[in-house]
Amino acid sequence: MKPFAYARPSDVAEAVREVAAEPNAVFLGGGTNLVDHLKLGVARPDLVVDVRTLTSREITDTGDGGLLVGAAVSNSELAADRRVRERWPVLTQALLAGANGQLRNLATVGGNPLQRTRCVYFQDVTTACNKRAPGSGCSAIGGYTRYHAILGASEQCIATHPSDMAVALTALDAVVHTEGPRGARTIPFGELHRLPGDDPSRDTVLEHGELVTAVELPPLEMARRSTYRKVRDRASYAFALVSVAAAVDLADDGTVRDARVALGGVAHTPWRATRAEEVLRGRRLTDDTARAAAEAELADAVPQPGIDGGNAFKVPLVARTLTAALRILTGREG
């Protein structure tokens, strides 16, 4: 591990100034991703600016039925919050589907959506990776692609975003509050992450020195009927092969008035499934509807060949997982 200087500023403004002033500086939150990457040599900062205790650790009502969640709130605290459990169960479920209890106690709301891909080549500095070392190539293409993208990938990068929480926040139209060198701003959650395109080194639209200070959960009545269905290679403590965050507003006759769907494990971003939502609206929630919605969303899917058969299985798996998730929301089996 390369040596680095460490700073613990007294407030957010100072932290932003410190990082902005040093091109090779990073923020440290819970550390669960950064320290991992420091050891691997994936992250090689000169300066680490500790914000673990700077941002808010409060979850406050916004007055309109929403919540403002401080960036320093732990994943565990957010998952356990009574208001979240009742009004946004998909978020509690997504949080609890991620990592383990020990990590959730350390990991923060501000840091979790910014965790970097689990692509095995990104994590191995002895292999080529355009995200880690721009221009070096992509080892994942044609390699171990089981956890890689089927949507929105580029010839430069086929990595997926690993956060479960971020999939739920995408479905819930959450808003990210940041403070940066150019002041404070808010970013719709669906616009926080970016597709790899020609520059996979950037996961998000955040500028250097821009710090997530809070995540806002807007009121969403239909989220009371929401769920997170994660499919993985073992029963717990594993990243998603595919996951679905879904919320539906059902009319009395069972037709879908409105829906929110986001997918995990399929793209460089948590994937808002707007095409699927469009198909669901106005239809009754049957398995056929779910399949049609998935088909629409996956019309442009590009499976990746690779070791052990690649990831083509994700195309049917998305449809099947969406089916399973929507069954849960209508109280059917599964």
């Binding site: 680490v48 565990s76 609890l96 383990n100 020990q102 350390l106």
Partner: protein
């Protein structure tokens, strides 16, 4: 080199198993390496060093946490309880006694982490925290087999004593 005017080490205070330590640490040092390689407290184990096995689980400021991903410098003032600090010498914490009763381990390497994790689990259940196994998120969770198994899943046991670990945690939970 930018940043070189800043120190690459820092002074911190830690309380480990009741004992106060005042130390100068390399900014890179994790709490795990600090305990194991400098303080001689090897109760928390290193199994993966990347948050993937749970062997370094302790109670960090009262909550179960992994030491391998915690930079010491970031936890100035922290209070750490390892499995060895859960009970005075010559005594055992109810979780430890339950692990003995159920033979909930073989090689013992993951065991201190399992024990600390279990202590954290029981506290989390007491506070009504749900888990991935919780069906009704609005109800108080119970110490069912499914609940305990899910909550203990962040602690790998390669000897695979899981079928004994779960009832041990349930026993300790019932004994509270």
């Amino acid at each position: 080199m930018p940043g070189t005017d800043r120190a690459m080490d820092a002074d911190i205070r830690l309380r480990v198993d009741g004992e106060l330590h005042e130390l100068t640490v390399d900014t890179r040092t994790t709490l795990l390496d600090l305990l194991r390689e400098r303080l001689g407290n090897t109760s928390p184990k290193k199994g993966c060093d990347h948050g993937q096995c749970g062997a370094c689980t302790v109670l960090l400021d009262g909550e179960r946490a992994l030491l391998c991903l915690a930079l010491a410098v970031s936890h100035d003032g922290a209070e750490i309880t390892t499995a060895d600090g859960l009970a005075p010498e010559g005594e055992l914490h109810p979780v430890q006694q339950a692990f003995l009763d159920h033979d909930a381990f073989q090689c013992g390497y993951c065991t201190p982490g399992q024990v600390c994790s279990a202590v954290g689990v029981l506290s989390e259940v007491d506070r009504g925290w749900p888990s991935h196994a919780t069906r009704d998120l609005t109800a108080a969770p119970e110490l069912s087999t499914d609940e305990v198994s899910e909550r203990m899943s962040g602690n790998l046991c390669r000897c695979a004593a899981y079928a004994h670990i779960t009832p041990a945690v349930q026993q300790a939970g019932g004994a509270r």
